[in-house]
């Protein structure tokens, strides 16, 4: 990580540590909510941004994580038992969801994952004996950590923040390892990657599975945050929203999910002043972002750099042309 990036990370972390105690409960809740989506979209960024796959089924894993923890906690198990079960479940189902990616790509893969999301959502809605159906599951307790109860909004916020930092660090380490290069190679040029010995089948499946684990953890944290779950937050629409968050932040940029989730979660809240018009304003903002910054907000420095290089190259050409002109 460059020195500038380290300074930015330190400042962001300081803000995330210092600001929430100054906020009311709803503000703290919103920050927690945002961080939950940061975790979920970190996983999706791995799948679509780094490994170049398409997924419109991420909210299904978010839901699987949430329901697994909620159901197990209702059955008397602790959050700390439910969380690894949710992670394992998401990993295995993520591997299975990656299987279509070995046969189809682009929009066809997107539709396959969309179908998966719909199927999972239908289970959540219709299997009332297990999921509570449209009535959902309520009174989901917040966990305790080493005997310390995390039920207060601020305490739970710091717990979610710690999880986000830990998972971010793990993802950073993974992406800095040879695995990170293999994922990028898979995205940039799968045929060449395979000819260089990269097991593209394994990395494709793993990109889905690891992404799913992140969504599952986020879902588990979400269940305890909102303390009530029902199928609505896990629809295909939610998957599309998560996809949008990754793209708006910058797919394939490590910190993209941080900004993208802010746009997806916090921006609608800030736009409440627009009252009935807020969806229109939000939609217009997204359209404009996609038009001007199709590679996301974090592509701005790259665009500035490219523009500067282009100007320098143009100036060098002009100097060379004027020298040739003077000599002739």
């Amino acid at each position: 990580m460059s020195r500038t990036s380290l300074i930015v990370v330190a400042i962001v972390l300081a803000v995330l540590l210092a600001v929430p105690p100054l906020l009311k409960n709803y503000g703290v809740y919103l920050f927690s909510y945002w961080l939950v989506f940061v975790i979920a979209t970190m996983g999706l960024n791995l799948t679509i941004g780094y490994a170049g796959q398409k997924s419109l089924g991420h909210a299904a894993f978010f839901g699987i994580g949430a329901y697994t923890v909620a159901i197990l906690m209702k059955a008397g198990f602790s959050f700390w038992f439910g969380l690894p079960v949710a992670m394992l479940g998401c990993f295995v189902i993520g591997l299975a969801l990656g299987a279509p990616a070995l046969r189809v790509q682009t929009i066809y893969l997107a539709f396959a994952t969309l179908g998966f999301n719909t199927a999972v959502w239908l289970v959540m809605r219709n299997e009332e004996w297990l999921t509570g159906g449209t009535f959902g599951i309520n009174n989901i307790a917040r966990p305790s950590l080493f005997g310390f109860q995390l039920s207060a909004a601020l305490h739970y916020y710091y717990f979610v923040l710690a999880m986000a930092v830990l998972l971010g660090a793990l993802l950073w380490k993974l992406l800095s390892s040879p695995w990170g290069k293999a994922f990028t190679a898979l995205r940039d040029n799968p045929i060449r990657a395979e000819s260089l010995g990269v097991n593209i089948q394994a990395y494709t499946l793993l990109s889905f599975a690891i992404g799913a684990v992140y969504a599952g953890i986020a879902g588990a944290l979400f269940a305890s945050l909102v303390e009530f779950i029902e199928p609505a937050p896990f629809t295909v629409g939610a998957s599309i929203m998560m996809y949008l968050m990754v793209v708006v932040g910058g797919a394939g940029y490590f910190f993209g999910p941080l900004l993208g989730s802010a746009v997806g979660v916090l921006l609608p809240e800030w736009l409440r002043f627009a009252q009935g018009w807020y969806l229109f304003v939000f939609g217009s903002a997204v359209v404009m972002l996609m038009l001007w910054l199709p590679d996301g907000l974090l592509s701005i420095p790259d665009r500035i750099k490219a523009r500067r290089q282009s100007r320098e190259a143009s100036a060098a050409r002009n100097v060379a042309a004027s020298k040739i002109g003077a000599a002739s």
């Binding site: 380490k173 993974l174 800095s176 390892s177 040879p178 695995w179 990170g180 290069k181 293999a182 990028t184 190679a185 940039d188 040029n189 045929i191 060449r192 990657a193 395979e194 000819s195 260089l196 010995g197 990269v198 097991n199 593209i200 394994a202 394939g252």
Partner: protein
Amino acid sequence: MTGPLLKVTDLKKAYGAIQAVGGVSFEVMPGEIFGVIGPNGSGKTTMFNSVLGQIEPDAGRIELKGQDITGLSPQQLNQRGVGRTFQTLQVFSKMSVRDNLLVAAQEHQGSMWSRMFAPGDSGLGAKADALIDQFRIRHVADKKAGELSYGQQKLVDIAMAFMSEPDLVLLDEPCAGVNPSLVGGISSLLKELNKTQKGSFVVIEHNMDFVMDLCHRILVMVEGKVIAVGTPAEIRANRQVLDAYLGS
């Protein structure tokens, strides 16, 4: 090793009614630079891709060091020591030149799981740097491959194939689209690598001067069949070859 490194026997591949490769057989010896020439549409690339597992041959047998490798995937072939370049540029455009080279050999370093949180260069940094120097691309080593000129990308493309020091490298038109001044440089590099890495190369190329200068033996294909195999001098003097290229 005394026998051939690569042995291709009666390889066939048809696309509908067109017999792209019709019973091609040849052998490549250890340390040999073996050229494959022929007019456009003679089946060179189809033969190449069949050997490399990119397409499935209809018939025939391919052996590497005496072991049957027919039908293995490109990934399995690479793990067994077969490298390749493509007719068109195939670099990872959003990665730096150095990372392009690192990813080209990292899959040979331990198991997949052992690489999960391993250092990014997989212990291959020195090797990548040596190749960067050998290919004279030090000044662009930290640039993204996609930002380089065509010639520079071609050098990166070729260097990647040699990063894992494979026993056999198949190069598909290494001089295609390259500035004539760079052709001699590529030839020298390949000769140098042939000496230092001691691998065998199979080279498809349309540039006759390049092939004649570089290769120890040359195979000539016309309409999916082998019409001649021999040293550059033998090929130059072969009437059938002259007819195929110039018309009888």
